[in-house]
């Protein structure tokens, strides 16, 4: 093997491992979202992560990857749809020349799991009341929208990329976009039954399993070590071999600050060290540092994480006060923290690191120039308008044509039993054969013979 081939091999090993870590974030979402919602919807909410990742993967193979990373113009890729074996095996060649150091297939795998994460965020705000078919249709629509924006910011020649927009692993591309669609969905669905009282005041609808939510958050934190460090797309970045280790460090520092900050802010502001707010703090910090992780010094990562945690803890009640029912907190945690992280990169980007990554320039704090901050803001405005408008428009159309919200009796009974025919925790509601409080088997099935023939005892 030549030196160059060895480098490609190392790059590919790292990128595929990172992609697998990011794929596992779906497990994090499953536990986080199921934990923060009610027991009667648990199976539906956990299970939909598999459904939407499946939808996203198929659409991303068919059109998404081509739109996002195929050769094309500043707005969209025009090549690489349903890519061929040859295109997927080639390294650094058209239509996927965007990936210089890894085969197109490794690029696809790494990018599709990002599309899956962005789509997973959407349903957090729409939880417990959307019809099942909406996941199929909007999942496909959103994957296309997502792919276009990721072309603008990440593909060489994308129009925001040419301005030098710094979004290392997707505070804007992945998290802000997911939150914009989530907001559109929450607005169109309206609040869950019982979320707001007659006086308009919000009621608490506690999640049913906090340890699930904690486990989900830990899995997401774990997966983020693929998300951010993997976005180096190789083992050497701008002459620094092993740069992804540094990215992992800033990621972890921000998350740590977010967890500590989240629980402290909740303790002071909400008067209770709320566990779910600590989790929101961790996730908001991770979201915020996603744009910045390759561009900032360790101290800045900590500041970004702390501020993000504060934003999330304060924004969750504010979103609620606006009459928006967002069961998981996607709008606050992924949306506002995504905005903060994108802008913070324009403030704190170190010139040397910007040169290493090769995107944009130093931030306001180092250079005194507001150029980078302005580029970041331009990106937020453009993506905000495009993704919110297209999400709202498509969901509005679906709502007008067929209705995207389940009937009230379905919502009341729970999506598990009403849509899927079975509760997530059947034995909590009804006896099942051999379940808690039943004979060993069969007593609910009238066609099954009883254990002992009636009258046998008397005969004996």
């Amino acid at each position: 093997m030549t030196h160059h081939q060895l480098l490609i091999a190392m790059n590919t090993v790292w990128v595929v491992v990172a992609a697998v870590l990011v794929m596992f974030m779906q497990a994090g979402f499953a536990f986080l979202e199921a934990g923060l919602t009610r027991m009667k919807n648990a199976a539906h909410i956990a299970g939909k992560n598999i459904l939407v990742f499946g939808v996203a993967s198929l659409v991303y193979w068919l059109v998404g990857f081509g739109l996002a990373f195929g050769n094309g113009n500043g707005v969209l890729g025009t090549h690489g749809f349903a890519p061929s074996v040859a295109a997927l095996l080639a390294v650094g060649k058209a239509p996927f020349a965007a990936f210089a150091g890894i085969p197109g297939s490794a690029g696809w795998l790494f990018e599709v799991v990002f599309a899956g994460v962005s789509l997973a965020i959407v349903w957090g705000a729409m939880a417990e009341r959307a019809k099942l078919w909406v996941y199929f249709v909007f999942g496909a629509v959103f994957t296309v929208v997502y792919s276009l924006v990721s072309h603008w910011i990440w593909a060489p020649g994308g129009w925001l990329q040419r301005f030098g927009m710094q979004d290392f692993a997707g505070s804007t591309v992945v998290h802000y976009q997911g939150a914009l669609a989530a907001l559109a969905g929450a607005l169109l669905l309206g609040p869950r039954i019982g979320k707001f009282g007659h006086d308009g005041r919000a009621n608490a609808i506690p999640g049913h399993n906090m340890p699930y939510a904690v486990l989900g958050t830990l899995i997401l934190w774990f997966g983020w070590f693929g998300f951010n460090p993997g976005s180096t797309l190789g083992v050497a970045t701008g002459g620094h071999v092993g740069f992804f280790g540094y990215v992992a460090l800033t990621t972890n520092l921000a998350a740590a600050a977010g967890g500590v900050g989240g629980i402290c802010v909740a303790w002071v502001v909400l008067r209770k060290p709320d566990v779910s707010m600590m989790l929101n703090g961790v996730l908001a910090a991770l979201v915020a540092v996603t744009a910045a992780c390759g561009f900032v010094a360790p101290w800045a990562a900590i500041v970004i994480g702390l501020v993000a945690a504060g934003v999330a803890v304060l924004a969750v009640p504010i979103v609620e006060r606006l009459g928006i029912d967002d069961p998981i907190g996607a709008v606050a945690v992924h949306g506002l923290a995504g905005v903060w992280g994108t802008l913070a990169t324009g403030l704190f980007a170190a010139p040397a690191l910007a040169a290493t990554v090769g995107v944009g320039r130093g931030g306001l704090l180092y250079t005194g120039s507001a150029y980078q901050l302005a580029v970041q803001a331009l990106g937020l405005i453009a993506v905000g308008a495009f993704t919110f408008a297209s999400s709202y428009g498509s969901l509005w159309t679906m709502n007008r044509l067929w209705g995207i919200r389940v009937e009230p009796h379905v919502e009341t009974a729970g999506l598990d039993v009403a849509e899927h025919g079975m509760w997530g925790y059947p034995e909590f509601y009804i006896p099942v054969p051999g379940g808690y409080g039943t004979e060993s088997h069969g007593h609910v099935h009238r066609h099954v013979l009883p254990l002992r023939e009636p009258g046998a005892a008397e005969a004996a």
Partner: protein
């Protein structure tokens, strides 16, 4: 004192308790998560393509211990609040006399 008990669908638990409070002024209830069935004889679920007959449905059992003079009105209020308009499964309500009711905190004999 009279014990008023009602088996109702779980969704109506708070509605029924509010109705009793509004109608009689009585405050205090015990709620038990119950399962059972009436003439409907349960429900058919589906699991992995198999139908799954559950003989029982989730219900709630409410118990009110209430002054004699208020019981009749409580029963009327419960019946009205528990009626869902569905074909079956709304449950029943009944009352029975109880003796030697003692209030734990004060030791007061309520009758």
């Amino acid at each position: 004192m009279v014990k008023v008990e009602a088996v109702i669908v779980r969704e109506r638990v708070e509605t029924v308790i509010d109705a009793v409070e509004e109608e009689t002024g009585h405050v205090g209830v015990t709620v038990v998560e119950a399962i059972g069935h009436g003439r409907e004889r349960g429900v058919t679920h589906e699991y992995r393509g198999k139908t799954f007959e559950s003989r029982f449905l989730p219900k709630a059992l409410l118990t009110f211990v209430i002054e004699d003079g208020l019981a009749e009105r409580a029963v009327t209020a419960i019946a009205a609040a528990a009626r869902t308009g569905h074909e079956s499964g709304d449950g029943l309500c009944w009352m029975s006399p109880v003796a030697h009711v003692v209030h734990h905190r004060t030791g007061e004999r309520l009758g």
